[in-house]
Each structure stands twice: as C-alpha cells, then as structure tokens.
C-alpha cells in the first residue's frame, strides 16, 4: 500500500502495525510518531494498524537553540 512517510511517498506491505513497520526501519534512539497528525503513544505501536494513504511522521531530537 501507498503511504506518506516524512513527506515522501512510500510503498509498504499491507496489514502492518506501527510496531512491525518500525522493525523494518532500523531506527536508533528516541523518536515519536504521528499518523495523520495524531500522536501515537509508544505503548500503542503493537496494536495500531497503518492504513493506505496514511501520513506518517517520525521525528527525533536534533541540535537546536
């Protein structure tokens, strides 16, 4: 299915939860996730499905003042 990941179109397999999707990304450190501008608490990753057309944002802390 087609989703938008951090502003870019992205094709991922169907029937994914956030937890399964994240396991394919190999992310390090702390991050936070929004789907369609709703924050998904970390505890809900395993049971939150991703739907076609979802707008997924994954953010982290970087240098700033």
């Amino acid at each position: 299915m087609e989703v938008t990941l951090n502003g870019d179109p992205c094709t991922i397999v169907n029937d994914l939860t956030i937890a399964k999707f994240l396991s394919t990304l190999d992310l390090e450190g702390k991050f936070a996730i929004e789907i369609n501008q709703h924050i998904i608490p970390r505890s809900e990753y395993p049971q939150t499905p991703i739907h076609p057309g979802d707008n997924i944002e994954i953010v982290q802390a970087i240098g700033g003042g």
């Binding site: 450190g29 936070a32 982290q60 802390a61 240098g63 700033g64 003042g65």
Partner: protein
C-alpha cells in the same frame, strides 16, 4: 558564589544560570565538549523529521546529551504559527517520555526571527491548558512579559537582540523593567555575542541567559563555553554585590589627607 544561589524553574532548582542550545556545532563531539564545559544543566534541542535510512551509524543527540544528565528543553524553532508550535511540543513530550518543559517560540519573520507575539500568546495558552510548563521566547516588551507570567508561563525569555545576531543587549532598560516587574524567572534568550554581553544581562538582574550561536560560532566553541560560564557567574555575583553608584567626576581612592609632599 554560595551553593544556595540557585535558579528555580518549574519547581526544580538549578545551580547553573547558563542555558545552552545544541545547534550549529561542527559535530556531536564538539557539542558534548562545549556543553560540558559550559556547566549548563538545561539544554535545548529541536524536533525534526528522522532521516530514515541515513546516518544510522551516527550517534543520536540524546545519547550525547543524555536526559539522565541534563534537563532537555525541546524548542519550537522554525514554527511560524500556533498550530505547528503546539504540535511540536506534543511530539516532544511523547519523544521525551512525558517530559513537559518546553521552550515556546512562534516566529513572525524570517529576516529578523522576531516573535509573533499574538500567536505566541495563543500557543502558550493552549500548551498551559494541556499541562505543559512553558518557557516563552518573546520580545523585550515589559507589558507582554507580564502577560505571559500572568497566564502561567514558568519563565519569560525576552530577546536581547535578534536570534543568532550576536548584537548584545540592545535595550537594557526594557530588560531591567521586565526583571523588576517579574515574579517568574526572566532569562535573556537570543542576541548574546560574547562574554561581556552575558555578564551585562546578569548584572541587569536576569535570572539566567539562554544562548547557542555565541558559543557554537566562536572560533573555539569550547573555550567560549568556559568564558560564558564565568561571565554568567561574574555577572550574577556583581548583581548580588550591588554595584557602586555612577559619578560624573572622580573620587580619589587614596586618602586625601596625610600628604608629606
């Protein structure tokens, strides 16, 4: 400096009155060295999209500036409207496991990075209603500073000069008026260029100074971090000591009597 001279922000006491950013450094090693040397206990970070599939071998900022060691202060830098600022703070709170202290800035103009104060007021209210503890970047307007205090911001942070300009304390009279009126910590945020600027802010009675570029863009950032630490402490001590009155003419330091010549 006595160990009891602390700054209290949102119920936590800090011995360092210097708050630092983590932007513009050459690399994370330099970031770590400069911040350690500064003695800062509150450190700002920005929230941005993760680079998926890129640089995964690079250490993460929060591994270098650990939330176990520092109070992390996520900012809303780059936000030009209420909605994106509030959204950024909510993401930061999730990212930092419920940590609710944020630095709010809503910018009005790319050239000056001056704050959009009406939208900052709106965003501050939404964040306070959502149980955030808001440290707010604003103009050096005493009336607005008081307004932010009254609505419940935990610290008010007027600019001394535009962000990243290094122009120093452009309006010391406004900063002093803000300090005199305040019942929450007042921190100069933005505009400091070198150590004397930081000392002046503290001599005016500010509770602290938040800076990034003045350290990160120095030729030797780690040495400048050391200088800023001392300037903040020196300025604070001078403020507490109470400076001598200014006189228009000289006042001899040696006794006037007892001359043998």
């Amino acid at each position: 400096m006595t160990s009891t001279d602390t700054i209290s922000i949102a119920g936590t006491d800090y011995s360092s009155r210097l708050l630092v950013g983590t932007g513009k450094y050459k690399d994370l090693d330099e970031t770590r060295s400069a911040i350690e040397t500064s003695g800062a206990q509150i450190v700002t970070v920005a929230i941005r999209r993760t680079n998926i599939g890129q640089n995964q071998d690079e250490p993460n900022l929060l591994e270098v500036i650990s939330p176990d060691k520092y109070t992390i202060l996520p900012n809303t830098a780059g936000c030009y409207d209420t909605e994106s600022a509030v959204r950024t703070c909510r993401l930061a709170r999730e990212l930092l496991d419920g940590h609710d202290l944020v630095k709010l800035e809503v910018l009005g103009d790319k050239k000056t990075l001056f704050p959009d104060v009406p939208q900052t007021l709106d965003a501050a209210q939404q964040l306070i209603d959502d149980n955030f503890k808001v440290m707010v970047y604003t103009s050096d307007d005493p009336i607005m500073a008081k307004r932010f205090e009254e609505m419940g911001c935990v610290a008010v942070m007027p600019l001394a000069a535009p962000i990243g300009s290094g122009l120093g304390i452009r309006n010391p009279y406004n900063i002093r008026t803000i300090v005199e009126n305040a019942n929450v910590p007042i921190l100069v945020d933005a505009g400091v260029g070198t150590a004397s600027d930081a000392a002046i802010a503290m001599e005016l009675g500010c509770d602290g100074v938040l800076m990034n570029t003045a350290i990160a863009e120095a030729k030797n950032p780690v040495l400048m971090a050391s200088a800023m630490k001392k300037a903040i402490e020196a300025g604070r001590e001078a403020y507490l000591a109470g400076r001598m009155p200014r006189r228009a003419y000289a006042s001899a330091s040696s006794p006037i009597g007892g001359h043998f010549f």
